[in-house]
Symmetry: C2
Subunit: 336 residues, 2 copies
């Protein structure tokens, strides 16, 4: 980030026709954007873009979710036809949506399957999620997708996820990287009952035993305990930072990938804004670990980028304030 542009934004906020600091977090958001764009006042975002990374997970067969694996592919279709929450929330926020199939356990439309690595990632309580080659391919795909979007004009990215069972590997990654126990990090995901919660916790426990052995090697961790969707998210988030493009993070799955991306590319978190605090317990561990303060706390826990998209209008509002408000001098008002 460009600290000089950030300081200019702080100074400009002081000159606008309002008491200094009276817009609270909105002022901070505008400073954040100015420093990421390297210019003050910041530019309105011309092409905010959501990328939803879809994939299935072998652990779904353990009954860790309230839904069967088939729903992942059905939801990909729902994204493409505009019927999902991400579509409504993106439209509300002025963003467009791309979905990529990284490891859906079935056929999807050609338009989304170009980067597909496999059908379903491995059951991480027993096997590796991916081979070494697949982990590399998935991270590279995520980097390529970030490049494609940025080269296509995206000046703000939102990362989203879709995959039945995907909060289980996310919990494993978070527990491994924050040294938390399974019972602390496990959440209700799509809304599981107590029996499914116990199965999920057991799966996380077994997968965590495997993951802890490779916790110091991010690529091995992705291979062992993530999945092609989460590995691609990791590459996407790391590459966006490398390309100096701001990203609004969503909830626990994107957060888990973000933690691994920060391991792969230390400092990448400077390019990420936490859209919200998900209701999933692991999400708060991610925020604490990455030292990110969420914009919203609305008890959301859907994924798909939904929490990030709920926050996006506040980011654009902060930019408009800094761009459009008159200064005291311009308005002919004496500052105090």
């Amino acid at each position: 980030p460009d600290e000089q542009a950030g300081r200019q934004a702080v100074a400009r906020q002081q000159q606008l026709t309002k008491p200094a600091g009276s817009l609270g977090r909105l002022e901070e958001l505008s400073v954040w954007v100015a420093a990421r764009q390297g210019t003050c006042p910041p530019r309105p975002f011309s092409r905010p873009r959501v990328v939803v990374f879809a994939g299935d997970h072998g652990v779904a067969a353990d009954g860790v979710s309230a839904y069967p694996s088939e729903v992942t592919g059905q939801m990909v279709t729902n994204f493409l036809t505009g019927g999902a929450a991400v579509n409504a929330l993106a439209a509300n926020a002025g963003a467009s949506v791309r979905v990529v199939d990284m490891a859906v356990n079935g056929d999807t439309s050609e338009v989304v399957a170009a980067h597909k690595v496999r059908r379903g990632s491995g059951a991480i309580d027993k096997d590796d999620a991916l081979t070494t080659e697949q982990a590399h391919a998935a991270v590279t795909a995520g980097r390529t997708i970030a490049d494609e979007e940025i080269d296509g004009g995206a000046d703000l990215l939102v990362a989203g996820d879709m995959g039945i069972g995907n909060t289980t590997p996310s919990a494993v990654l978070i527990a491994a990287l924050t040294a938390n126990e399974p019972v602390a990090v496990v959440g209700r995901g799509t809304g599981i009952d107590d029996n499914a919660w116990m199965r999920k916790t057991t799966t996380i426990r077994d997968a965590l035993r495997r993951a802890r052995k490779v916790v110091d090697d991010p690529m091995a961790l992705l291979r062992t305990a993530a999945g092609a969707d989460i590995a691609a998210l990791t590459g996407f988030l790391a590459q966006a930072a490398l390309r100096r493009t701001p990203v609004v993070l969503d909830g626990v799955v994107v957060g888990a990938a973000a933690m691994v991306a920060e391991e792969l590319a230390p400092g990448a978190r400077q390019w990420w804004l936490a859209g919200h605090r998900s209701a999933e317990p692991g999400a708060t561990m991610v925020l604490d670990h990455l030292d990110l303060a969420p914009v919203l706390e609305l008890d959301m826990r859907l994924g798909e980028g939904s929490g990030a998209l709920a926050a996006l209008p506040l980011v654009t509002a902060s930019v408009r304030v800094l761009d459009e408000m008159a200064t005291f001098a311009e308005a002919g008002i004496g500052s105090p």
Copy 2:
């Protein structure tokens, strides 16, 4: 509100292609809107409208603000030329802005002065803010303005305030109606220093002695301790409820008026949504007293309707979710 439409919205949220409850507060907001509109799915808002009530206060002469009274009129001009925070935030949220001069201590444009009651309300630590006739005229003006806006097509109202010194009468009203002491309710307003804080607290203490005698009579309370701007806000909020039109409340000044409006028209609060929790201490007392849960907590304390307008995109997002998302049946997905 229409409880049947609310129940239909709850039921529809269960059928949409996402885990039940996974959009958290956004789902509740959509239910709130559906019940206020009396229809499910709710209609997109066609004309969200902000009305900013401007007025000066005699207590400003005590040095209770960081700014002189002249700034009120200057800011009215700033609203009309589009340079204020409310303009940028309204544009971001798709709302239009109206400003009304109820008691600015100087001349303002004819377009805003049609309902003006006087030049500056009285210094409430020593005198009544208004005469009985002026209090009546101001409340009636607020009611008329609500009628004008609703008859003009506004289907969502945002109430805002502008007036140097206006957090002082607001603090008095809140302290009187919640039985709190001056030191508990006094805030930094536009950003006053410790000496001004002591002056403001003394002014509130003296005004509160006068206000407590009439706390059971809302019209007398407005006459004694409010001002024409706050009295008009009170009428506006009460009339919006009578006209079954939802309102997004802003911070401590609007909140103080809302408390009086609820006294004048019990149950009116069912038509109000709290946009945010202002950093002013009195704002939290208002929220507790009216049993309203704020959408945002962003440490904002500007007024003008700014906090309500920051929340508005989340309200429109909630409506879009309920309107635009596919059901499980429509998407051909089995619900769990």
